[in-house]
């Protein structure tokens, strides 16, 4: 079965600083990869997804992610964080059979 690891449970960054959230997956073939964001008290919203092609994908809210097959990684980045980006971020991989496998999540705190 596929698995997703998000090594950082919590990350704190200053407003205006850059951000990178790490995600590693285990999957034999080229995976379908997703980043979702959950604002406090809300459901999850898709930030971006990767299926094939260009390994740098752009998403909503100024986020991007880079797929690196050699490292089995799909890290999420943002050049300048805003206070409204404070949320929990989930990396997920398509397992096949209609199922997504989610990582445990990374909670982002933004300090002013």
């Amino acid at each position: 079965a596929q698995s997703v690891t998000q090594p950082d449970i919590h990350i704190t960054v200053s407003e205006g600083a850059s951000l990178e959230l790490r995600c590693n997956y285990s999957y034999g073939a080229t995976p379908y990869l997703f980043w979702y964001v959950q604002s406090p008290g809300q459901g999850l919203q898709l930030l971006l997804k990767y299926f094939s092609g260009d390994t740098l994908v752009q998403g909503i809210k100024g986020f991007e992610a880079e797929f690196k097959r050699s490292q089995s990684s799909f890290n999420l980045r943002k050049p300048s964080v805003h206070w409204s980006d404070a949320a929990e971020y989930f990396c997920a991989v398509g397992e096949g059979g209609n199922k997504l496998v989610f990582g445990a999540g990374t909670i982002l705190r933004v300090k002013s």
């Binding site: 379908y32 008290g41 459901g43 989930f90 096949g96 209609n98 199922k99 989610f102 999540g105």
Partner: protein
């Protein structure tokens, strides 16, 4: 277009009670999902459906049941509630298979079993 709606938002149950969590989507999506979210554990799939009349188990189905009589509705039934079912429950839907397509999530139901 309301997307995915869930009721109730909060509920407290006593051990052994039963309840149904409601989920409705107005996007005419064939695929629907129920997840539970526990702190530090991410989301775990309970059940999913690929269309009306078709349901299948996910990773953690024990203690739950589902039905899918219409495209719009996908209720989750808890029988004989246990403290281990204290969690936040999310319903989601997608136009095509959720392992390749965007899933749209409801706002969640926070359930406490005492």
């Amino acid at each position: 277009n309301a997307g995915v709606t869930q009721t109730p938002k909060f509920r407290i149950l006593k051990i052994g009670q039963s309840m149904t969590l409601q989920c409705t989507q107005d996007m005419n999506h064939n695929y629907m999902y129920w997840y539970r979210q526990d702190p530090g554990m991410g989301l775990k799939l309970i059940y999913y459906s690929v269309g009306a009349g078709i349901t299948d188990k996910g990773e953690v189905p024990n203690g739950y049941n589902v039905s899918r009589s219409t495209t719009e509705d996908f209720p989750l039934r808890l029988e004989l509630a246990a403290p281990s079912q204290t969690s936040v429950y999310f319903c989601a839907s997608s136009r095509t298979s959720g392992d390749t397509d965007t899933q749209y999530f409801g706002p969640g139901t926070r359930l406490t079993v005492l």
